[in-house]
Symmetry: C2
Subunit: 194 residues, 2 copies
């Protein structure tokens, strides 16, 4: 951030030592200004890692999101992706077409319902997605290590609680289902006769 030199109006130095403990009673509760800003800076860095890699392919943040969720839910429908991302069909269409055209995503017609296009990562897409997961996981792991023993649970609960109440349960279910599928696939790999 190149050490910012904000010349404040209040240059008086230390604030009154025994200053009255908030005479204006902050009717709405304590403002969380530090957390608001930290979340901004942290998130910016968090998404910048994949951004840089993507840029080399001529892709952007939107492509990352698509790759990520297709990786997590192989065989998902286009509609499911629209529901998760909450963007329009047209917006998704653009990035999805690029990803399919350039061989990162495979779009196959559904077996039972042939109107559906089920989305899968190609090996190429899988490799790229692994990079993103790895780099973002590394950042998260390091941050949690610096934050104390049960940080992972606390942070997880905090993030869930930051989500709009009506979205929490669907979101948690979505994550659980993806995790379960990963387990199933890796179990399948360890008994290839399966």
């Amino acid at each position: 951030m190149a050490d910012i030199n904000v010349s404040l109006t209040a240059r008086t130095g230390k604030s009154e030592p025994g200053a009255a403990p908030r005479l204006s009673p902050a009717p709405e509760g304590e403002p969380m200004l530090d957390l608001i800003e930290l979340l901004f800076f942290a998130y910016r860095n968090f998404v910048s890692d994949p951004d840089e890699i993507l840029h080399g392919f001529g892709f952007g943040r939107a492509h990352h999101r698509v790759l990520h969720f297709v990786n997590r839910h192989p065989g998902m429908r286009v509609t499911d992706l629209l529901d998760i991302l909450r963007i329009t069909k047209q917006s998704l269409g653009r990035v999805l077409r690029e990803l399919v055209d350039q061989g990162f995503i495979d779009s196959r017609a559904g077996a039972s319902d042939r109107r559906q296009r089920l989305l899968y990562l190609t090996p190429k897409g899988e490799a790229l997605t692994q990079e993103f997961v790895a780099i973002q996981s590394r950042r998260l792991r390091r941050a949690l290590e610096e934050s104390g023993g049960d940080a992972r649970d606390v942070v997880r609960r905090f993030l869930v609680a930051m989500i709009d109440p009506e979205d929490r349960s669907p979101t948690e279910k979505l994550i659980a289902r993806a995790d379960q599928a990963v387990e199933a696939r890796s179990a399948a790999r360890s008994r290839p006769a399966g």
Copy 2:
């Protein structure tokens, strides 16, 4: 999220009960897929609150950021804002002009260096910014309450640790300086003779 119906490939139901505890040793450490996704959903909701209000004024996310940091650092220079936001002068110029034109921000020439334009919120800008702080603080407060006793400290440490190491100290100093200025101003208000 309207309960997403992802028909997974692995429809076998419950994953092997006594499945081997990860035969592939995850060379890069445990992937933090759940946190990656929770951060995405949480941040999206977090910024959507101000977004909706802004939309009524014909403003967007970029205006929010400018208002927020000018509120935190009254009298800051344009250069300081560019350093914090890390966008180009031209991008900032557009939103700043709109905010000044519509009377949310006051831009005054510096007293000691008259090349500088020092930025202040007008009462109108201050009122709007308070709304954003209030609504985002409320979300944060509620989330912390649901996350256990020392959640605030843990989350704060976590967010700091998520920031690129070279930016941490400047960022923390920035926040500390802003907090200190707030205290100084509110102390000044409680002794108006001052």
